[in-house]
């Protein structure tokens, strides 16, 4: 490691130490997460996913059963450390709801939920790209970015999301290389 990288590391560790809410739980991070505990958060995850991709004139995240997708991917495909980060993120968010409004997130009204999720979104990323990179590497993607990217993925790959929220072309047949965009044209679900 050269000196510059080393100093960057020290600097990052200092900043992350104060900003990462789950760093103190570092030592728990290597044990696998309890799957049933995460499944217990299904309603909470579903609610937040729906806030990210709400039902409009097209289906929303709940219609597409995105919460099930998110939990399955977290449990089966994410490293243990990332699983914890996600789970603690949920706990932190619930705690924040209690601290701010004295009730469960799911019992909060729409504007309270909105401000809670905005708070979470605000804390999701450092404005500094290098810090983001280091933070993601050390601790995994932040809770909110993970939730958001899995919501998008789960929705856009779902039947409701792909065929109604987006445009899905099962067997295109012909390739039309340059065609005028139609009014309200949705983007293609698959590449």
């Amino acid at each position: 490691m050269d000196r510059r990288t080393y100093l960057k590391g020290i600097f990052a560790a200092g900043v992350l130490g104060t900003a990462s809410f789950s760093l103190f739980k570092w030592f728990d991070l290597n044990k696998p997460i309890d799957a049933s505990a995460l499944w217990d958060k299904k309603a909470l995850i579903a609610e937040m996913a729906e806030m990210i991709i709400p039902r409009t004139d097209t289906p929303g995240a709940k219609d597409a059963n995105v919460h099930t997708y998110i939990i399955n991917v977290i449990l089966n495909c994410n490293p243990v450390r990332q699983q914890h980060k996600f789970y603690y993120g949920l706990e932190d968010l619930e705690k924040y709801a209690q601290d701010q409004y004295g009730k469960d997130f799911l019992k909060c009204d729409a504007s309270q939920k909105q401000s809670i999720l905005e708070h979470s979104a605000k804390n999701a990323e450092y404005s500094n790209r290098i810090l983001n990179k280091i933070n993601n590497k050390l601790l995994g993607q932040s809770f909110f970015s993970k939730l958001k990217s899995l919501t998008v993925e789960g929705y856009c790959l779902s039947m409701a999301g792909a065929t109604q929220g987006l445009a899905y072309d099962y067997i295109p047949g012909k390739f039309e290389a340059c065609i005028p965009l139609k009014p309200n044209q949705k983007s293609w679900a698959t590449k």
Partner: protein, 566 residues
């Protein structure tokens, strides 16, 4: 599947044996069968039948419970293969845990052990090499001179192209000769724009549609391609060429083929008296029994690294260092293209234009470096650029779009700006020290020594990557792209899955393994026509060259056999 219980030598004896059923082995089998030779095609993995063994080919995205994410278990078991596969095509990759190898330096060895091999998952790009490539070693002194020139292989390129069906555009370039093409796929708006800009700014460069083995019209009872872009799952329309969809059925139709899956070739057997190969030794992976099969000629098409392994493992008093290895070149000179460096950018024009369908290929900017002497670029040889243009979709946007809710959803589901991503596929020189050896201290579950791969890119490749970044960035800037970002992914060796060079062709038996007909210098009835025969890597995707060389060698072998020379 066949099982041979009869020990009589007659049933175990064929005119020809082909080891490996991938893209070149399938060709060898077809050509030998068509020449009337009773041919045994050996494949170490399972059978994969065209159409019926493509379990994911018709699935929708929502049929995959975990999307296209691999599980933690997948990644632990298959640390290399899982970088390439997804749940949609995982069944066409080996398990690293079951098929270990040793990485002396980081090297990704992607494999498909089943009938058809990697011809099911290949990138389908079909480019001819030119005399710029065949003459390069002689000219700059790297490696040994190719014993052939373009005129020797040109008719066989045409022969191969006419069989497999290649869509493409003729461009009349000396460094990238034209072939026999079906109608080309089409460039989209942004690609046309980039093409025009390149043409305007540099008379030595042009952008053309990729030349691919995807059928733009029906061909040989297959296709046409339906523009689904799901090729690596196997195509239910036979829209692209693979051993499974084409050469193996054609070989089968002659009545001369015996296909034997689950058969690991451990050795080529040498006949001391006749000074030729007499056959092969095989482990049946179902019964664990060892069989010997005999033939007048043997084609080795196990893939570059595995072919080297078989040769090195076939020792005798005549060949203490490995079969046909008097030159001590077997296993050496391993090459892989580098495809790490490039550039991307976005463009604000054509906001009212889109496309329909998923074209299964991108574009090509043929080689434009070192076409002439004295370019003084600090590196020898060259690269071509491959890339594609598209409008940003949800997967490109998810990380860049702030916020959440209704507006976020609306932005997510509309086409974003046009972008182009492009990268250089670069030539890798043949270095003696880049090599495959056997480690006899470690064995696989069949008791066979593990292959050890020791490979690194050197200074010439690294300098070329810097030049790729610079020229790609420049071409995008000149075409009015914004947010142009150049990159070098520093990918591991093997990542381009173009391994070549471990049993090279050459004039001289002291410095090469094969002659101008891919015939082993030291055992005239053994032919090697997979990537291991390559004396240099050029920068073109190599499969078409393997197919052309295989067809050529197969005809030569059959003629020699008829003449009684083998």
């Amino acid at each position: 599947m066949i099982y041979i219980s009869d020990k009589s030598k007659k049933l175990d004896t064929y005119d020809a044996i082909v080891i490996g059923s991938g893209i070149s082995g399938g060709w060898a089998a077809m050509e030998l069968c068509k020449q009337g030779l009773k041919t045994l095609l050996l494949e170490r993995g399972r059978d994969v039948k065209h159409l019926q063994d493509y379990p994911t080919a018709n699935l929708n995205p929502w049929d995959f419970k975990l999307g296209f994410n691999n599980t933690l278990e997948d990644r632990q078991r298959d640390p290399v293969q899982s970088n390439a596969y997804t749940p949609a095509d995982k069944h066409f990759y080996v398990s690293d845990a079951d098929h270990p190898y040793i990485q002396e330096k980081p090297f990704d060895w992607y494999r498909g052990y089943h009938v058809g091999g990697r011809s099911l998952t290949w990138g389908r790009q079909c480019y001819r090499l030119s005399d710029l490539d065949f003459g390069a070693n002689l000219k700059d002194g790297n490696g040994v001179d190719w014993p052939i020139r373009y005129k020797d292989i040109a008719p066989w390129y045409a022969y191969a192209e006419k069989h497999i069906g290649v869509s493409g555009q003729k461009e009349n370039l000396s460094q990238l000769p034209d072939g026999e093409y079906l109608p080309p796929m089409e460039l989209n708006c942004i690609e046309r724009h980039l093409s025009e800009s390149i043409k305007k700014n540099d008379q030595h460069r042009l952008l053309t549609i990729a030349r691919v083995a995807n059928l733009t019209r029906g061909w040989d009872s297959r296709g046409p391609c339906q523009n689904r872009n799901l090729c690596s799952r196997g195509c239910p329309f036979g829209g692209y060429f693979s051993s499974n969809s084409s050469t193996i059925p054609a070989a089968m139709a002659t009545g001369n083929l015996v296909l034997r899956p689950f058969s690991i070739v451990t050795e080529i057997l040498y006949d001391e008296q006749k000074q030729k190969a007499k056959g092969v030794r095989v482990i049946d992976t179902i019964t664990s029994e060892v069989h010997e099969f005999y033939a007048k000629i043997v084609f080795v098409n196990a893939s570059t690294i595995a072919t080297a392994g078989i040769l090195l493992n076939s020792t005798s008093s005549r060949f203490p260092n490995g079969f046909g290895n008097g030159s001590d070149q077997v296993g050496h000179n391993l090459m892989d293209h580098h495809a790490s460096a490039g550039a991307s950018g976005a463009h604000d024009q054509f906001a009212d234009q889109y496309y329909k369908g998923r074209r299964p290929c991108g574009f090509l900017i043929p080689r434009y470096r070192n076409l002439h002497d004295h370019e003084n670029l600090g590196f020898t040889r060259g690269y071509n650029i491959q890339g594609h243009g598209e409008r940003q979709e949800w997967s490109d946007k998810v990380n860049g779009l702030a916020g959440f809710g209704k507006d976020f959803k609306a932005q997510l589901s509309t086409p974003g700006p046009w972008t182009v991503w492009m990268a250089g596929w670069g030539e890798c020189l043949p270095y003696y020290n880049n090599q495959v050896t056997l480690d006899h201290s470690q064995k696989d579950k069949w008791g066979q020594p593990l292959l050890k791969i020791d490979f690194a890119f050197e200074d010439n490749e690294k300098k070329m990557m810097d030049d790729i970044e610079a020229t790609c960035g420049e071409m995008l800037e000149k075409a009015g792209f914004r947010d142009v970002a150049t990159f070098n992914y520093h990918k591991r060796g093997g990542s381009t899955v173009h391994e070549m060079g471990t049993a090279r062709m050459g004039h001289d038996p002291r410095t090469s393994v094969l002659n101008q007909f891919n015939q082993m210098h030291e055992a005239k009835n053994v032919f090697i026509t997979d990537g291991s025969c390559m004396a240099s890597s050029a920068s073109q995707n190599p499969s078409l060259t393997y197919m052309a060389l295989t067809a050529r060698a197969s005809h030569f072998a059959a003629e020699e056999l008829k003449k009684g020379n083998l």
